[in-house]
Amino acid sequence: MSRLRVVAAMSGGVDSAVAAARMLDAGHEVVGVHLALSQNASRLRESARGCCTIEDAGDARRVADRLGIPFYVWDLADRFRRDVMDDFVAEYAAGRTPNPCLRCNEKIKFSALLDKAIALGFDAVATGHYAQIVEGPAGRELHRAVDTAKDQSYVLGVLTADQLARAFFPLGDTTKPQIRAEAAERGFSIARKPDSHDICFIPDGDTRGYLARRIGEAEGELVDASTGEVVGRHAGSYGFTVGQRRGLGLDRSGLDGEPRYVVGVEAADNRVLIGTADLLGVTEITGDQVRWCGPPPEGTVSVGAQIRAHGEEIPASAYLDTSAVGSAQGELRVSLARQVRGVAPGQSVVLYEGTRVVGSATIRETARRLVAE
């Protein structure tokens, strides 16, 4: 491979540090870039959570020093606020359940960052995501990581072929424990830094509290989906996600003793529908914002469908309905081979063929086949 000019996105964590080092080892010209995404970048947080504190920027800088590569901080906070944080709030307000990490990859890391890098003369962006890029007959393919527990191909399923062509994921062929060991061998001080798990802009993990501050509280009804009976009150439908069981504030599960779940969120009426587990099963998914990681498939294809990060893959058939009104890219229709519980609009469905990511869509509607399985 020829020597490329590569931006290594460096969060200050272990993975992106090793990714940068590997790009350098591969002979590329590497520049480390930490993205300042927080509106208040100077705030120090105590833990290693989040992705944009001064401490994290400092950790990334020290790795770059050790690698002997130039290092810069690029301020993409305005774009992050608009494309990820505001989108996150708007999606919840509309009764959907977004995945902000996926949106960040789509809009920030492989759009704003990549576009800026290319405009400044770079060829590609490398990140510490666990996923593999394979040179296939029809171009670059995105595949699951070797470490299935860490696999992040789901949150990269929004990338188009053009974006993939400019991306490097140097960690996809290695397991996380090996990456930590490698970081230690390379003398990185952050080799034992804990992984980040939470949404980076909600460092305390209290999503409902964050949404309440952004949207404001609005009391509404909890309604039994089968009977239409009002069974309780809530402080805002955005605080609920299909499949959620805890935090419903019901004093009892129901006369039958069966557990109750959120089975629907009707944001327009600020209503949350409650029901038993059997109402949660979904087999049919309609998605929009369709993305293909390579050439779009023709006709109906047999795939594996994954509904959430680190969720299981379910056998399915999928086809692109290009006749759908009002959708330039068409609508994706996915039929799952068996029922899956807790599929919320707003989540992404990512399609796989073997380990290869075929494409993705944002779930708009779900339904259940009436025919017995």
Binding site: Y72, R79, A119, L120
Partner: protein
């Protein structure tokens, strides 16, 4: 890129130490002795310190007893502001007014702001679009205090701006401040060794200077304190430095600072002419690129009266400063915006805001500051790098719009 191929044009941030300062520093590092001790070693150390004090005083037109060594310009500014405010309000409780300017360094803005909680009224005199604070503007600020029945404790206006290099009418401002019964301070960190300057003739009570901006080491500076200044210490302890700045003075740093100031002042005239010529060539070269660039702040070709000899500040509409600085760095040109960075990101410049540069659209600003190592070749390389980098930085701003 090897360091010797890079073009360093950030002398206003820090400038390499001059040989005389390195020599003075090294020579004073090894001998033992605390300058407060009474034995022979102590006396030797004390003698070195007083030599430094006298050398520095002579170079800036002050009396040796007026030199208070500090850890740098920021500490000098803090002592000047907090120390004067405390002493003046103790003397006269109504003297709670502080007049400063909208284009001061953060080392002045922040300590004045911190005094608001203690009851200070801080008025920021307005700069004109050339980046000059006129005496009239100070008079207006004093008038605001008068309408609030607040007496002015201190007027603090920088001698030369760190970002756009504009030189302020300090003598006129000092006269006005004195007439109004205020103490008057000037942050002269960018000015000492670069413009003609005599503390004695300035009318100032207080003047701050910093070592590493003029060829001395980092970690040392001084506040020149007139003998009749009304000021009290901020840091308390063993009563060093006229009781105004306790703590053992780092004699080697003080010696190196004095050597650097003496050197800078002794070569100032020739160096100023040399730098003005380089500065003008650089500005004219950049403006001639036909890239819609403008100069930030006053600039009179051939003159060092309104702008520092080594300061070039260029406003580049339609691009982000960080993209431009990145591209220049990659091309081997070391420049800056001149405004404070927050977590590695250039912050919005209060100086550009103050002189009315519109920041609704992305406006890149790049400060190229020349110093004692700068050559004509540096200038030519900077011009050709800017020619290459600006269109690319603008393209990058386009994709992020």
């Amino acid at each position: 890129m090897p360091a010797d191929l890079r073009v360093y044009l950030d002398h206003a941030a820090t400038t390499p130490m001059v040989p005389a300062a390195v020599e003075a520093l090294i020579g004073a590092l090894s001998p033992a002795g605390n300058s407060s001790s009474l034995h022979a070693s102590g006396r030797r150390s004390k003698a070195l310190l007083e030599d430094a004090r006298e050398g520095l005083a002579a170079a800036v037109g002050a009396h040796p007893s007026e030199v208070v060594f500090t850890s740098g310009g920021t500490e000098a500014d803090n002592l000047a502001i907090a120390g004067t405010y405390a002493a003046r309000t103790r003397e006269e409780p109504a003297a709670r007014g502080i007049v400063t300017s909208s284009i001061e360094h953060h080392a002045v803005l922040e300590p004045t702001e911190a005094l608001v909680a203690a009851g200070a009224h801080v008025i920021h005199a307005v700069a004109d679009t050339d980046g000059i604070i006129s005496a009239d503007s100070i008079a207006d600020a004093l008038e605001v205090l008068r309408t609030r029945s607040v007496r002015p404790a201190l007027v603090s206006v920088m001698w030369a701006n760190n970002e756009i290099g504009t030189i302020q009418p300090v003598a006129a401002i000092a006269d006005l401040a004195q007439e109004n019964g205020a103490q008057v301070h000037s942050d002269a960190v960018q000015a000492v060794g670069r413009v003609p300057l005599s503390f004695r003739d300035s009318g100032l009570h207080l003047l701050s200077l910093s070592g590493h901006k003029l060829g001395g080491p980092m970690g040392v500076g001084a506040l020149i304190v007139a003998r009749d200044a009304v000021i009290e210490p901020v840091v308390h302890g063993g009563g060093h430095e006229r009781g105004l700045r306790s703590g053992t003075v780092p004699v080697p740093l003080a010696a190196a600072l004095a050597a650097a100031v003496s050197h800078a002042v002794s070569v100032r005239k020739e160096e100023s002419s040399r730098l003005v010529a380089l500065r003008d060539r650089l500005i004219e070269g950049l403006l001639g690129l036909d890239l819609d660039l403008t100069v930030g702040g006053a600039w009179t070709p051939g003159s060092a009266h309104d702008r520092l000899p080594g300061n070039v500040h260029i406003i580049v509409p339609g691009c982000d400063a960080d993209s431009l600085l990145f591209l220049l760095d990659a091309a081997g040109i070391e420049a800056s915006t001149g405004s404070a960075c927050q977590a590695g990101v250039p912050g919005r410049s209060h100086v550009l805001d103050a002189i009315g540069v519109s920041t609704d659209q992305p406006v890149g600003a790049v400060r190229l500051t020349l110093g004692h190592t700068s050559t004509g070749d540096d200038v030519e390389r900077a011009i050709s790098a800017v020619r290459e980098c600006v269109p690319r930085a603008r393209a990058a701003a386009g994709v992020l719009a």
